[in-house]
């Protein structure tokens, strides 16, 4: 492939020399608002619910597990390998399968499951987003293939928004091959601009905050 060509062509077009350092870039614009823990939680729940997500504030791990069990209601569910889910007892629930480490097996399971349960690395209060890094604990498919997604997150992981996220994690590529923000359910308005939820990803989404 003519790799050097295009870079060289760009360089000539710009009147620059090989190895010439760039001009000083504008400094990053990161603004960190003051917001206490209670306000973050309130703001996050408001934004999440506005996107038609369901929220639950769990007083204890048992409470979190009970809520999830009630949402599952005996349906087939798959849980990620997040330690938090094990600690809450979610992986021990009768209809929940977990512990997958192999791609094909996990995918088959997710394609057949009605509910996917994951942790989340962060949540963003101002947009109601969940932030998930792909890892040995969190596979990409669990929050994607089943039509219903439940995420469990600790309260202290709620950040104010994008600015705080990129302040906390300035280089997401150092942590994982994939970082995804999930902001509400999968949706489309491609036919007559009528909103339909759950086109390729989950149409229903719950968050449990511990």
């Amino acid at each position: 492939m003519p790799l050097e060509n295009i870079v060289e062509q760009a360089r000539q077009a710009l009147g620059r020399r090989a190895g010439q350092s760039p001009e000083v870039p504008p400094p990053p614009r990161i603004r960190l608002p003051e917001m206490d823990a209670a306000a973050r939680l309130r703001r996050f729940f408001e934004a999440f619910e506005k996107l038609s997500g369901k929220t639950h504030l769990a007083a204890t791990r048992e409470d979190a597990c009970a809520y999830i069990e009630q949402v599952i209601a005996g349906r087939r569910a798959v849980a990620s390998n997040a330690p938090l889910l094990r600690e809450c007892g979610v992986t021990a629930l009768a209809s929940v399968r977990s512990g997958f480490t192999e791609r094909e097996a996990l995918r088959t399971e997710c394609a057949g499951a009605e509910i996917g349960i994951t942790g989340a690395d962060y949540a963003l209060a101002d947009t109601g987003s969940l932030v998930l890094f792909s890892s040995a604990e969190e596979a990409r498919m669990v929050s994607l293939l089943p039509p219903l997604h439940i995420a469990v997150i600790r309260r202290e992981r709620i950040l104010t928004g994008l600015d705080e996220l990129f302040d906390t994690v300035p280089l997401p590529s150092d942590r994982s091959s994939s970082m995804v923000f999930i902001t509400g359910p999968s949706r489309t308005a491609d036919i007559e601009q009528i909103l339909v939820r759950g086109v390729h990803g989950p149409g229903e989404i719950h968050v449990v905050v511990l």
């Binding site: 790799l3 295009i6 760039p22 994607l144 091959s177 994939s178 489309t188 390729h200």
Partner: protein
């Protein structure tokens, strides 16, 4: 003025259903955007625009450096960067890769860049099955059309069109419920995702310091395209670069709000390389195809370089009075609306579709809403100058003008102007505008010709002006007839009566 393919325009303008669909859809997007960037929702909006413009300017001005940085970081994470000078090289790379890996089925997520290089047709012709997975794109693909709008590809189709299309192409029952139609597409496409060998995506941003591609969406088809198959190929124009992941704190706040009025799309994926050691899923191979296809040529043009700042939000289309009447398919290339009128002549050459930069009232709404502050009217004017320069001396009067009366000939000639005639016409105009008495005389003559109106409308012109831009203008509109007394007459009368 050079003319475009008029018959198609007239078809669109004469189709009331289509007119209503375009107007409603763009109107809704305009409304949602306005709410999302209103000061009470996003007080920092103007500051973000200014910063986005600075960042894009800096990146484009130093693009060679950022391309190298980006490539080094992609390689660091186990991916590969492939440079493609044109469509043929980009398609060639993909076809070779698919052949080498024994791939047959390619799933694709929405990408204007892949539209630009005609990826689906080219790969299809080489025997690969390429399936669009965005619902709107899938519909457009089944109908063998191209996207009508950057963010709403099937904007021009109704649920009934979709019902007939699905019945014909998928062999399902004629289903007019939109939820059911979505379900049908979901079921077909889910099987494709699980069977696909290669996933091809575009990219909203290329992040130099991370070697990452960032892609926004609502449906989840991009997450599936980039994560389910063993190979992920992202195809992007070199201008999609931004310096740092931290700059996303600016761009992500602007893009979805400008496009659909959402704070963020349902899914924002930040992808850097194939799956890492220990990660359970994700692709084994990760490629980024960086496409030139004319971009370095635009880079060399200092005056119009800012065309490359575009982040493809579509806001300029929604706010454009021309787009809102003529829709997406009357633009000659994949990019429509004001940004299409700016990009198309630069990519394909100004002589290719010379009427395009003229298809604007220069109202400036596009520049007002552009999240990266591209001065679109300025670019359109610069391109008009390029068109006139390119045509100077090569103009031949149409045969019809030779048969017409002398008055018709003058009219036709003035309004199908080449460089020389245009200069002459404007010299005449300048003279008239500088001499009030002559101006008034012309005004009175025009009134005599057009007739004395009393609140009425002019629907057609006298024969001598039955050609040229005024006639074209009147074919779709009515002109208010001139009042019985003009401003100067009223002014004089009132002065005489001692009112003023």
């Amino acid at each position: 003025m050079p003319h475009g393919p008029e018959h198609k325009f007239h078809e669109t303008l004469a189709n009331p259903k289509l007119q209503a669909a375009i107007y409603r859809a763009t109107g809704r997007l305009v409304e949602h955007r306005r709410e999302a960037v209103a000061p009470e929702m996003l007080p920092e909006y103007q500051e973000l625009r200014a910063q986005a413009n600075l960042l894009k300017k800096h990146t484009i001005d130093n693009l060679d450096y950022y391309l190298e940085t980006f490539e080094a970081n992609v390689v660091d994470h186990g991916g590969r960067v492939v440079y493609a000078r044109d469509a043929a090289e980009a398609v060639g790379f993909l076809a070779d890769l698919a052949k080498e890996r024994g791939a047959r089925l390619v799933v694709k997520s929405k990408s204007m860049t892949t539209e630009e290089i005609g990826l689906n047709d080219h790969l299809g012709a080489r025997g690969f099955e390429v399936v669009e997975t965005d619902l709107g794109e899938y519909i457009v693909q089944l109908a063998h059309q191209r996207p009508y709008h950057i963010v709403a590809p099937a904007l021009h189709m109704t649920r009934y069109d979709v019902a007939d299309l699905f019945e014909r192409e998928l062999g399902v029952a004629n289903e007019t419920g939109i939820e059911q139609q979505t379900r049908i597409a979901h079921d077909v496409l889910r099987q494709k995702f699980l069977a696909a060998d290669i996933g091809v995506s575009g990219a909203n941003f290329l992040v130099a310091d991370s070697g990452a591609v960032v892609i926004l969406e609502n449906e989840g088809n991009i997450r599936l395209t980039t994560s389910a198959p063993k190979i992920h190929v992202a195809i992007a124009g070199i201008e999609k670069m931004i310096p740092r992941a931290q700059d996303l704190a600016v761009f992500l706040k602007l893009l979805a709000r400008s496009a659909t009025g959402q704070a963020l799309g349902s899914y924002t994926s930040f992808l850097s390389g194939p799956r890492r050691e220990g990660e359970i899923d994700g692709p084994d191979e990760f490629y980024v195809v960086l496409l030139d296809n004319g971009r370095t040529r635009i880079l060399a043009d200092r005056e119009k370089r800012e065309s490359l700042y575009c982040i493809r939000c579509g806001a300029c289309l929604n706010h454009c009075p021309v787009y809102r009447k003529v829709g997406g398919h009357n633009y000659p290339w994949v990019y429509s609306g004001p940004i299409g009128a700016v990009l198309t002549p630069q990519y394909l050459g100004v002589t290719h579709e010379p009427w395009l930069p003229f298809a604007s009232s220069l109202c400036g709404a596009c520049a007002e809403v552009c999240p990266v502050k591209i001065d679109l009217p300025k670019l359109l004017l610069a391109l008009r100058a390029d068109v006139v320069d390119a045509r100077a001396g090569t103009y031949h009067a149409p045969a019809s003008a030779k048969r017409a009366t002398w008055r018709g000939r003058v009219f036709t000639h003035i309004f199908s102007m080449d460089g020389r005639t245009e200069r002459l016409a404007f010299r005449l105009w300048t003279f008239v505008m500088r001499h009030p008495r002559i101006y008034e005389l012309f005004g009175m003559m025009l009134k005599d010709v057009l007739g004395d109106g009393s609140g009425g409308c002019i629907r057609s012109l006298p024969c001598f002006a039955a050609r040229g831009p005024l006639a074209a203008w009147l074919s779709e509109r009515d002109l208010a007839a001139p009042p019985s007394k003009n401003f100067r007459q009223l002014w004089r009368e009132r002065r005489k009566a001692g009112v003023a």
